[in-house]
């Protein structure tokens, strides 16, 4: 689990509250002074987003939130690379079948499943095609999931604007008492505020976070595909290491290459 999403959103909220208090306002009072603004913005954004997709996507709504908050970048690629170099060594010395005993060391089901297929003698081209199709389809599911929250983030300010215009129209239509002008406008603008709030403090970061996690998961599986195929091909462990380090930033390559040359 990578707590940065919780930390980041807490920083954003806390500094907003702190700034409000410093200016002599009570942010709780301001934000919650008009429940109807919250209902209009949240109801509109959720409703329009739901209408934009399918029932399945709507039901999966909370799952994405949990993943964004509780998920993380997954296993360090350096660990995966080390395991693969090690497996390549075993495969070279003792044959592919000797890897069967070590399947339990693999946590990732994609890696394990791919290696099993490789050891079972699946044709390399077919194996690559199958694994790449799997990653491609996963990428599609992730993209569609992240887009759902981005859609919701986009509807936030739109419904905020709708609510504010409704409020202004109502207010301007009955301008008999100028003293109510200010408070009426304040209420109207609260809808704009809530629209910007759900977009910037919640749905936009969630959507970006899910896209980033997907990017990392795709990279991790591409690394596994390259490794599995190299192991199956019986490549020299040093060459396997040399190729897979491309998936690491240069500053961390020594961890892999240093060990090998030692």
């Amino acid at each position: 689990m990578d707590p940065i999403t919780i930390i980041g959103l807490t920083i954003a909220l806390a500094t907003t509250f702190l700034a409000s208090f410093m200016s002599g306002m009570n942010p709780i009072v301001i934000f919650f002074s008009s429940p109807s603004s919250i209902i209009l913005v949240v109801g509109g954004a959720i409703g329009a987003t739901a209408a934009s997709g399918t029932m399945d996507q709507f039901i999966a709504f909370p799952k994405g939130l949990i993943k964004a908050f509780m998920g993380g970048p997954g296993e360090d690629p350096a660990i995966t690379i080390k395991l693969m170099v090690d497996f390549a060594d075993v495969a070279r010395k003792e044959g592919l079948l000797a890897l069967e005993e070590r399947f339990d060391e693999i946590n990732d089901p994609f890696f394990r499943n791919g290696l099993e297929l490789a050891v079972d003698g699946t044709d390399p081209d077919e194996l690559r095609e199958m694994l790449e199709l799997d990653v491609f389809k996963m990428q599609g599911r992730h993209k569609s999931g992240a887009a759902f929250y981005a859609t919701c983030a986009g509807y936030g300010p739109a419904f905020g604007m709708v609510g504010t215009v409704i409020g202004l129209v109502d207010m301007l239509g009955k301008l008999d008492d100028p003293s109510t002008l200010g408070p009426s406008m304040a209420v109207a603008f609260l809808t704009t505020l809530w629209g910007a709030f759900i977009a910037n403090y919640f749905f936009t970061p969630i959507s970006s976070r899910l896209r980033k996690l997907s990017e990392l998961e795709v990279a991790s599986r591409e690394l596994m595909i390259e490794g599995i195929l190299a192991i199956q091909a019986g490549s020299n462990p040093r060459n396997v290491a040399g190729k897979l380090v491309s998936f690491l930033p240069p500053s961390r390559r020594e961890e892999i290459l240093g060990e090998k040359s030692a």
Copy 2:
């Protein structure tokens, strides 16, 4: 049929109405207080959208709406996969021609047509090319259809703005009686409201929904293409299952693979 579009739009409208009532406004009165705003925005958006396309697209306008509301994600891919694995089994044991008796079990015309061509002995490469061209062309038709509603959604706020500016120019030109200022501005802003309304409560969700349904239909047909070609090639049913499960999220793969390994 997937009722989420009706449900979602109902939620968006209902919460807007509820919020208005809670703030002491009558949303019906507000929304319908200026028929001219509705005429300008709806007429402008429909007219400009019609001008942006062809007569055929304009005539097909209601068809897309019906599809967005009444359509759905289609048959569960797991069912299609199971049928295909079953067919692969038959084809392997009794030959391709034995599948002819089972054509009536296939509901999807694309699947049925493709399988007929496969059983008729069409060359695999040619068959793939034909089926992929069909999907590609369908995708183009869907894209063009969804874009039509997106265009309409874009014109909504644009004509809302035009109407509001016309109202403001008229109002500012005859500022003799300040007491009419408020109501005049209210009427002017109603056009903005209607522009935002048709975009956010209707055309944008419709367009996104059509794009999503298209995405699902394309994925479903890509699955069928892979399956048909695997059946024609006489692949092992287990391999067919192993490949096609990529089209399902991991959590549902057991349904297919579990059965097979049993």
Copy 3:
């Protein structure tokens, strides 16, 4: 000719005028009350668009307008397909050269030229490459033409805003007589109105329409390329029909396939 562009723009204009009259305004008076606004917006948008391209593009400006208004989606693809299936039949039975007598039945110069090259015995791969290059270059010319009107549409609101700001700056600088405030602002906003007007009632629909017509023309030529090459290859007319129907929506395929199987 497809009258939808004229019809659509007429609807947009007519409803705007109707709505204005219903609100007690005279739209002609409002729109034409400040000739300087029209000069600034139209002059600015045309000038900046001209500066963004080449002299050739500027000279071709009216040609695109004529095409958008007077052009149309071209011949029904079903007619082209029927002719091609017929030609495939002739080519199979009487040889490619027998088609020479029927060249005059072909209206489209691209189709005729392509078929002539096919009958002359041009190498199929070279023929496909030549025809595809031709379509690709046509697509480029169309895209560049449509982009010109889109650029113009984009400059509309930009110069509208420039004119309004000039008006506001002038007005605010000599605020001695508050009674002139309203009318001055009205004039300033007229520039915004004209900017939005030329964009939404004219240039944006024109640009979208040209893109749509181009899309249809490209699809029509891709259909011709597939057909010409299938005829040259001496394909079975039934297979030619089976492949080319992908260019039609499913609801219209019976027209072609029904006839053939009859």
Copy 4:
């Protein structure tokens, strides 16, 4: 040289000035009434753009301007095609080496260099690869150059807004004398005006113009590559003409094909 950029920008400026005079304003007085607005907008836009790139790009800044104003669409492709068809004729009849005497007729260094390499017997695949890499790299340089002015155009309104907000904050902070309100706001809005001015009357058209010129230069070189390779391959001049006319709009093809068939 193609004077359309100078003509277009002159039209845009002249109509703005005319419109201002017609409305009883002196545009020179308005535009130059606040030198600080000009300094803030121009300084901010140039500074931020410089910071966005490299020193080399900054130094090349004036070069792009000169190209946008003084450059043009280059030689008419019809002339290039005629020369190439002529060269193909010579190469066929007298051999490739006979072209050496005619190198001086070629103005374009890319064409000349490519033809020299072709005559020197460079391998066709390698030659194509070299020439395409050259075009690809040129395209990259052009794109990066045009993007620089687009960046500058984007910063214009951004710094205009910054200056206006600074002005408003200052003005609102010392609201003791309401009579200064108007003039202060006028000055604040001048920054918005200058931001929109440098973007719409200058940097955006320049950037679009450079992109268009690049597009034409790329197309011209692609034409040369096809021609050079066809000449080297000893193609029939009629086929060379038939293929290269794709680079011309249909209305101009007769110029090439008519001559040939004569």
Copy 5:
């Protein structure tokens, strides 16, 4: 190091300050008059950006800033090309192994590593694939880094707007004393100002700069890949020079080609 980022941002800041002083304002007083605005905008933008990515990205935040300010376009490609042409000469005359003595002349680790692999006899196709994968992965890391600052730049104005709306809502809610209206609005707009400030004077230029530096580094490595493979293949130094000069603008090619032909 390329000081243009520091110079550019200094110009942008200095002209803003100069313009403020010229208008009789003290920019320091204005910008720092409301610490709460700074806290809200900076806290919100950093917090929401952090939540959008991973902990690793957040920790690497300062590294990108240092690179943007202190980094530069790297070694002049002409120098790299000259070295490569020289190496190609050596490899041709004395064999690939003779290059080992000259490895120390190479500063760039990517170049050196690639040449070592080439000299070690790595298969050319595999070598190209390895080096291209390395560049592709580097490009991905750079893109993700630059996107982080662009995200931050996008949140700047968003949180500026949130803060301004909070301020307006608070102010409008307690409109008893009109004399405080101006100063309250001034404070509310300061948040807008800070949002625009961090975006336009800092994060947007930083993000563009990082993208530009990445583009140059990718081009530099693509040049190295072409050179290394040409050297390994024992190409003629003149051909190596002829191909690699595509990476230079035409005006600088004489430096390479002139020398060679001399």
